[in-house]
Structures are given as C-alpha cells and as structure tokens.
C-alpha cells in the first residue's frame, strides 16, 4: 500500500465507498476522513493539507468530485498548484441507472480546461494502480477518472505507464487507429475485433492521459494511418476527441481523417443500465465499427476515383 511508504498520504471521502476504506482506516487511523456530503469543503480542506506538506486524495462519484466543487478545484488546488489527487468513480455512464444527476460526461472537459491540472483516465484496474503511483510521483493537481467495479482487466502484465504517454494495446498494420480513453477500453477492443473480421487490422491505444496529450504519439498515428478514431464515454465536447481535434487544427499537414465517438450534447433520459445508455448514444462496438468501415469504404472509393 502506497500509504505505508508515504506517511503524507491522506484519504478524504465524500461519504461514499461503504466498507471500501475499512482496511485503510484500520491500518492508518487518523489519515482517513469521511468529509460528509460536502464536496466543496472536502476540496478546500485537501488544499489546506497540501499547503502544509501532506498528499491528500479526494474521492467520491465523478460528477460530484469535479463539477460540484469546480471552483474549489480551480482556485484552492489549481491556482495554488498543489499536489492533490482527485479521484472520481463512475466515469461517463457507469451509473446510468441512477439518472443524469449521476452521469459524468462533462468532467474531462471541465478538469482539462483548468491550468496546472493533469487528467488521467485509466483503461483498467492495472492502469488505475499505475496511474495512482504516477500521480503521487508527478506532484501538482491530478484528476483520475475511474469506471466502476469489476470491469475486465485488459493488461495481463504491468505495462510501462507514464503520465502523458499512450499505451499501444494492440498493434495494427493497416489503416485504422483507435484511441481509447478510460473505462471504454473494452468496447474499443471489441470494435477492433469486429473490424478484424472485416479485414481491418486496427491499432488500439489506451490514451489514459487526456492532459497533457501525447503529441508524439498523435504525430505518428496521424501520419501513419488513414483513419484515427477517438472513443470515450464522455461528451464529444471537450473530452479526448475535442482535445485531439484542437491539437489537429494546429497541425500543418496530416494524412489521417479524425472520427470522434462519444456522448452527444444532451442529457440521457429514461431508465436503463450502462450498456443500454452506451448504445443509445452510439458508444457501442457494432455501431463504431460500422461507422469506421463506412468511412474506410468511402475513402477507398474516393481514392480509386482520384486515380
């Protein structure tokens, strides 16, 4: 446990994680605080602790630990450039059944725009563990965006994890590169499997860090591939797709087309679990594979005509 090695680590929870923190509380009494349903105060407190040399982690549901206390993050943590780690659980539509109050499809955008903030969306539990370690090493404000419990483990071995460096999960030698961020990684791998049955050997990258963007990797993929697709469980505004589009508009030349997949600019109404909610906004391997295939066919047709 990191907290055993580093006495400065303090855990602050916004009245969530029933029993989850019991082992921590037992081992490190006095270093866990249930801050109640008061995210603004929890965030300010974390800043005060960090000013005094501690390394606090704030934790609650993604939408509450970010948007609810956005100004406390902006001023108390980011303006002071403090080493506070903000951990949000329930990325995107993880808690779809709880309704739009508990959806978190805007958090990446809101965290990314803050100066000094680093935004990390691990693709599986292995990446979560590595991200946390890397965040403590990095210092400064870091937002770590988690899915929920029991998602598939993608990495069999520990990959080389560096904040700001994408991890190639599956090498692809043809024309399509899929950039995934966060909890949507299993959907992206399924997309690659479907594309493979159509003769498209897609590369898959876990772009676990949305800020700072891995510009080196982007330069490579946009010059090597024909289609680059971003896939995320987040609004198309301001997330990974938005970041890549902004970056791309500043580039002089590129080979690849950019396709962006994510949630639309609307609240999701109607009951249903994550899978249904994902499908309703098009975050679905079948739908994504179909769109990519269509674009690929269109491009081939255009190229053939051009010749």
């Amino acid at each position: 446990m990191l907290a055993r090695v580093d006495q400065r680590i303090i855990l602050l929870s916004g009245d969530i994680g029933n029993k989850l923190f019991d082992p921590f509380k037992e081992q490190f009494p006095g270093r866990f605080f249930n801050c109640g349903v008061a995210e603004a105060n929890m965030t300010s407190m974390a800043a005060g602790m960090a000013i005094c040399g501690l390394r606090p982690v704030t934790y609650t549901i993604a939408s509450f630990v970010t948007v609810r206390c956005l100004e406390q993050i902006r001023i108390d943590i980011c303006y002071h450039n403090l080493p506070v780690i903000i951990v949000g659980v329930g990325a995107g539509l993880s808690y779809a059944e709880l309704g739009a109050t508990h959806h978190s499809c805007e958090d990446i955008a809101m965290m990314r725009v803050l100066p000094n903030m680093t935004v990390v969306c691990p693709g599986d539990a292995v990446e979560v563990r590595l991200a946390l370690r890397a965040a403590f090493k990095r210092g400064g404000p870091v937002y770590i965006r988690l899915g929920k419990k029991n998602e598939p483990i993608i990495h069999k071995d520990e990959p080389d994890f560096q904040i700001g460096k994408g991890i190639i999960i599956r090498e692809g030698h043809t024309k399509v590169c899929l950039l995934s961020t966060g909890n949507v990684l299993p959907v992206v791998l399924e997309t690659a499997n479907i594309l493979a049955t159509q003769g498209i050997d897609a590369q898959v990258v876990s772009m676990h860090t949305v800020k700072p963007l891995d510009e080196g990797l982007l330069k490579n993929v946009f010059s090597q591939f024909e289609i680059v697709a971003t896939i995320e469980e987040h609004s198309l505004i301001g997330g990974l797709g938005g970041s890549v589009a902004e970056w791309l508009s500043d580039q002089r030349s590129r080979k690849a087309d950019l396709l962006r997949f994510g949630a639309k600019d609307e609240f999701i109404h109607g009951a249903g679990k994550q899978k249904t909610a994902r499908q309703s906004v098009g975050i679905d391997a079948e739908i994504i594979a179909r769109e990519i295939f269509k674009r690929k066919q269109g491009n081939s047709h255009k190229n053939a005509k051009g010749k």
Binding site: G30, G36, A38, A40, S44, M45, G48, C52
Partner: protein, 271 residues
C-alpha cells in the same frame, strides 16, 4: 506594546490603505479599513510568528478569506516586518506581486490566495488537521466577512470543524454590517449570527472589533478550553477610522481623491 503605540500603528496602517487605494485606484477601501484592528491584534498580540522566518513549520497561520481586503493584509505584513514597506508602493501596478486580491505565495506571510468568498475556512481546516496529523501545535486564524456567511461552503466547513473538535482554529467574522450592494442582514438572515455558530458546535463570542483589549483577550482563548473551534463575531464599522467613510457603503467601490487622502490622513493624525 503599549496601547497608545498599538493605536498609532492601526492609524498608520489605515493611512497606508487609503494611500494604496488612491495610488492604484483599487476598490474595497471600506472592507479593508474595517478589519485593521483584527489584523493588528493577531499579528502583534496573538500569533506566534517570526517575520524573518515566514515558513517556520511551528508558526501560527492566518488566512484572510475576505481577500478583497488585501490592502489591509499587505499593509499589516509590511509594517510587521515580513517585507519592506516600499513594496506596498507597487500594489496593483503592472507586474507587481501584490494584486488586488492575494495570489498564492505573492509575498512572505501570505498563507493562501483568496478572492472568491467561502474558501478560507475549508483551507484553514485542512491546515488545522495537518497540524494535528503532523503533531505540530500551531493555531489557524481565519478572517471572513459577514457577506461571506452567505456562502454554503462556510457552513459546510463550520459543521466539519466542530465534528472534529478543531480547537486549534478560530474564525473571526468582520461583521461590518454591509456587503457589496446592501445591508448584510437584509440580504440574508444572518442574525442571530453568534447563535448560528454556537448551534453549529463552535464556541462563539461577540466583541467590539475595534477595541484592542476586547479583541486580544478574546483571541487568547485559542486553543479553546471546551475543545471546540472558536468563532469571534467582531462588530465593526465599514470604513472605520475615516469619518466620511464610516458606515457609508459607497466606499465599497469608491476610490479616494488626492484631497480625500489628505483629509483622511489628517483625521488619522498622520499629517
């Protein structure tokens, strides 16, 4: 320090503030003048601080949560010896480290940035808890405005501090009865203010916020003997010290002219 020396000091600080406002055309003069005695009581009579060692881990901490009164904080820190008085002349000018609200680490002695209201108590709780965790027995003092009691985060913080028996912290409410555009007690139902803090689990006291003896003897109660955080409701007058500014809320935004600066300094017996 003798009481007449302290009084002379508060007049000097007030004179500085009026000059700074005029020179930099900065607003919030009334709010800065109302908290001068609170700051002087803390920095000269109460807090364990060494201006030459502003980062000493053992030091008592002060947060000016009502960051718009930055002129009062900067003038106090300068006269207490944290930095040269000449730095005050740069206040608000292009490139100066002294902005109209304190920025992080802008000058020795500034513990936290402020400007948006309702942040200081939460930050102060973090500092008070850190002291407890690290077993350093310092105290944390936070000055907030009455308008700041409008913010929900103030009361989130109040409930947390008392739940954790943070007797090493003290909030001083600069209750000058005005907020930016109206009477504080008419805009929100602030009163009974001391009773509110008490019902939130704090030891609460009411003092004349311009009476150095009252302020000092009340501030000596930290850490609190009942194991509670302490709230001091300091009854103050906005614009205190300059007759034509006192209790006139136009001076929340108004900038004094050269002539008004002279008048003010004459009243403060600085000319």
């Amino acid at each position: 320090m003798q009481i007449n020396e302290i009084e002379a000091l508060t007049r000097r600080i007030r004179g500085k503030i009026v000059e700074m406002s005029n020179k930099s055309q900065a607003a919030h003069l009334g709010s800065a003048l109302s908290c001068v005695d609170i700051l002087v009581a803390l920095y000269w009579n109460i807090m364990a601080i060494d201006p030459l060692k502003p980062c000493e881990p053992q030091r008592d901490r002060f947060i000016l949560s009502k960051g718009h009164a930055a002129m009062a904080l900067f003038a106090t820190l300068a006269l207490r010896g944290f930095f040269p008085e000449s730095l005050l002349d740069t206040f608000g000018s292009v490139g100066s480290c002294l902005e109209e609200h304190p920025s992080p680490g802008c000058a020795p002695g500034v513990e936290a940035a402020a400007g948006s209201l309702g942040h200081g108590i939460g930050i102060g709780i973090g500092m008070a808890l850190a002291g407890r965790i690290q077993q350093i027995p310092y105290r944390v003092f936070i000055t907030i405005s009455d308008g700041e009691c409008d913010e929900g985060s103030t009361w989130e913080a109040a409930m947390f501090a008392s739940a954790h028996h943070l007797d090493n912290m003290c909030v001083i409410v600069d209750f000058n009865k005005w907020q930016a555009t109206g009477r504080s007690c008419e805009i929100m139902a602030l009163e009974p203010l001391a009773e509110k803090w008490r019902s939130f689990g704090w030891s609460a006291y009411e003092v004349n916020g311009h009476d150095m003896n009252e302020l000092t003897s009340c501030l000596r109660n930290i850490p609190d003997h009942k194991g509670k955080p302490v709230a001091i409701i300091a009854h103050t007058i906005k614009g205190k010290g300059v007759s034509f500014m006192e209790d006139d809320n136009n001076w929340h935004y108004r900038i004094p002219t050269e002539k008004e600066v002279l008048l003010a300094k004459r009243e403060l017996e600085l000319l």
